[in-house]
Amino acid sequence: MSERIAEHPILGTQEKGKEVSFTYDGKQLKGYEGEPVAVALKAAGVMVHRYTAKRHEPRGIFCAIGRCTDCVMVVDGVPNVRTCITPLKEGMDVRTQAGCTAAESEDRP
């Protein structure tokens, strides 16, 4: 449901790093090296980054600049990583977070 901007009327075509592969909950996705993990996920149509601890509610990108900490996920095994300011690297393992750990499939409503 989201896509990348091919050509911008003011900014033209934006320079991106090289294309890399990463996994999102085990699925192979592609993105560009150095762009925030959240952007690569957004481009792939991923909306839900985590489920909260108390109410088990979905959360995604909110501020996109590392303040609100809503977009945190488990990245390479480390929980609470702010994906909106974490640069994407080849082979990253990105997982939906539930509470403060990686979500199991039953955590998802």
Partner: protein
């Protein structure tokens, strides 16, 4: 411990401007910024700035960012990125996270220019993925080239809400509505008008009832509010959207100054908790200065001047210039800042409902309520005149500090006069050549070239056009009124994209002559 003469926190417009002022006087200056790109919000601002030449008017924000960065580097400023300042401790000690370690630095002086953070507002469903800050939309669009969504509802009609709505459309998103609980549009009328004429409806005195969706936004319901901001039952309106953007103001990000022990005050007029400081950014602590949004929410243009002021003060504090020179420099900067802090949106007018322009003309009520000037209102402004042949029509109806149009016309058709906030007028005996420089130079996209009667029953209207794809010559479509509704059929005569227009394309459309003063946007059939 490593010591700098001057440590600046934040490489936005204020921080970089301060650094340039300091470094060009030989001060060893370092700027830390937590982001991987310098420039702060400038790099997300793709519209042309207001003001006059000295304020870098009609230059796009991201270009100004690049200019500042170049100047900083040339004057020997060390700009360190991905450098998160985690604390401002006693004795002006700045602790910075760099890579995988923390570093301790001392500054003989410290300028804090950390900017602002977005305010948020809560309603049922506000935590759903798809509800985002307007800043988030801007970051995704302009820094990372990804769409936040396809169909967006914008909450907030201040300049941020209006500008970001326009940016969303420039990237191909549809803006379903602009909603604001206030009864009047908060931002510049020209920003509202350029959005409204593309067909975006404004809902003033409305706010969000709830965001809808299961695990992300699929819709939103808004409703009208009364003067106590309570919902009026029966006024609910539903929109299918995938994104809700919140643009409800900014708060100074002043935590570092508070941690350092600066005296603070809570000032709603300045946007929240700010350090108590003098006009030039001197805080209650010796050697610690504040500049830009961190000390009061304003525009990036003012932040640049405030940054320079803080840089000058720091230079005097550090003994690089004497008091006399400081006084002289600050007086000049005072003038520049005062030039910006004028007009109906000046900081002193915040919250006031202004009814008349400085010229004594009634402000358009429709503009404040619906985002565009109504047909029966537009003729009363001095930029809107009728001439034979091609001539500029300047739909500038509010007093804002901005004058590039005056210099844009080589024929001297346009005059603002000495007072930068005055409404532009079309001079009497001027000879318009139709060059279009005025259209491209108007930061508010409020100038049109009109030939009201081409002699064959048609008229031509030239309008600023910053969307893709560009319509081709001869393509048929419709002319939209200021309200974004169809008024007539239209055909594209030409699309001019000169370098001097700086990416504002000039689209000329032919319309039946009775629509010369009505059609203000083109949409391809």
């Amino acid at each position: 411990m490593k010591r700098y003469d001057l440590i600046i926190v934040g490489a936005g417009p204020a921080g970089l401007s301060a650094a340039i002022e300091a470094a060009k006087r030989g001060i060893k200056t370092v700027v830390f910024d937590e982001n991987s790109r310098p420039g702060g919000q400038l790099f997300k601002q793709i519209h042309k700035f207001f003001g006059s030449k000295e304020h870098r008017a009609k230059i796009r924000g991201y270009v100004i960012g690049g200019q500042l960065l170049d100047e900083a580097r040339k004057s020997g400023v060390e700009v360190i990125l991905d450098a998160t300042v985690i604390g401002l401790y006693q004795d002006r000690e700045v602790v910075v996270k760099l890579g995988e370690a923390i570093h301790h630095f001392k500054g003989n002086a410290v300028i804090v220019a950390t900017g602002a953070s977005e305010n948020m507002i809560n309603f049922p469903g506000w935590t759903l993925p798809g509800v985002i800050g307007a800043g988030a939309a801007q970051t995704m669009l302009n820094l990372h080239g990804v769409l936040p969504g396809k169909r967006v509802l914008m909450l907030g009609s201040g300049n941020v809400g209006l500008v970001v709505s326009f940016q969303l459309m420039q990237c191909g998103c549809e803006v379903a509505a602009i909603v604001d609980a206030a009864p009047r549009v908060g931002g510049y009328g020209v920003h509202a008008s350029k959005v409204a004429r593309t067909g975006v409806p404004f809902y003033l005195s409305h706010t969000i009832v709830k965001a809808e969706g299961y695990d992300h936004v699929t819709g939103v319901t808004i409703a009208e509010v009364d003067e106590h901001f309570s919902f009026i039952p029966g006024t609910e309106k539903h929109f299918d959207v995938d994104t809700i953007c919140l643009a409800v103001g900014l708060s100074p990000m002043s935590q570092l100054l508070k941690m350092a022990g600066c005296k603070m005050s809570d000032d709603p007029k300045k946007g929240g908790q700010v350090p108590i400081c003098d006009t030039y950014g001197r805080t209650s602590l010796s050697g610690i200065f504040a500049a830009g949004d961190v000390s009061a929410i304003e525009e990036a243009s003012s932040a640049m001047i405030e940054g320079r002021m803080a840089g000058v003060c720091a230079a005097e504090y550090l003994g690089y210039i004497d008091e006399e020179e400081e006084k002289k420099e600050l007086a000049e900067l005072d003038d520049a800042l005062n030039g910006l802090r004028q007009g109906m949106f000046a900081p002193g007018n915040r919250g006031k409902a202004i009814e008349k322009t400085e010229e004594g003309i009634d402000i358009s009520k429709n503009l404040l309520k619906n985002g565009f000037v109504a047909e029966d209102e537009i003729e009363r402004y001095p930029g809107v005149t009728h001439r034979e042949g091609i001539h500029p029509v300047i739909e500038c109806t509010q007093n804002i500090p901005c004058n590039p149009c005056q210099d844009a016309c080589r024929q001297g058709c346009i005059s603002i006069g000495d007072k930068i906030t005055s409404l532009p007028i079309v001079t009497k005996d001027s000879k318009c050549t139709g060059c279009g420089m005025c259209v491209a130079s108007c930061s508010g996209q409020a100038i049109f070239l009109v030939n009201e009667d081409c002699g064959d029953g048609s008229a031509t209207v030239t309008l600023p056009y910053e969307f893709l794809p560009l319509p081709e010559e001869g393509s048929k479509g419709i002319g939209l009124g200021r309200d974004g509704k169809k008024v007539c059929d239209a055909e594209v005569v030409s699309v001019r994209s000169l370098d001097v227009y700086d990416k504002t394309n000039l689209l000329t459309m032919r319309v039946p002559k009775e629509y010369a003063m009505k059609a203000r946007f083109f949409r391809k059939a």
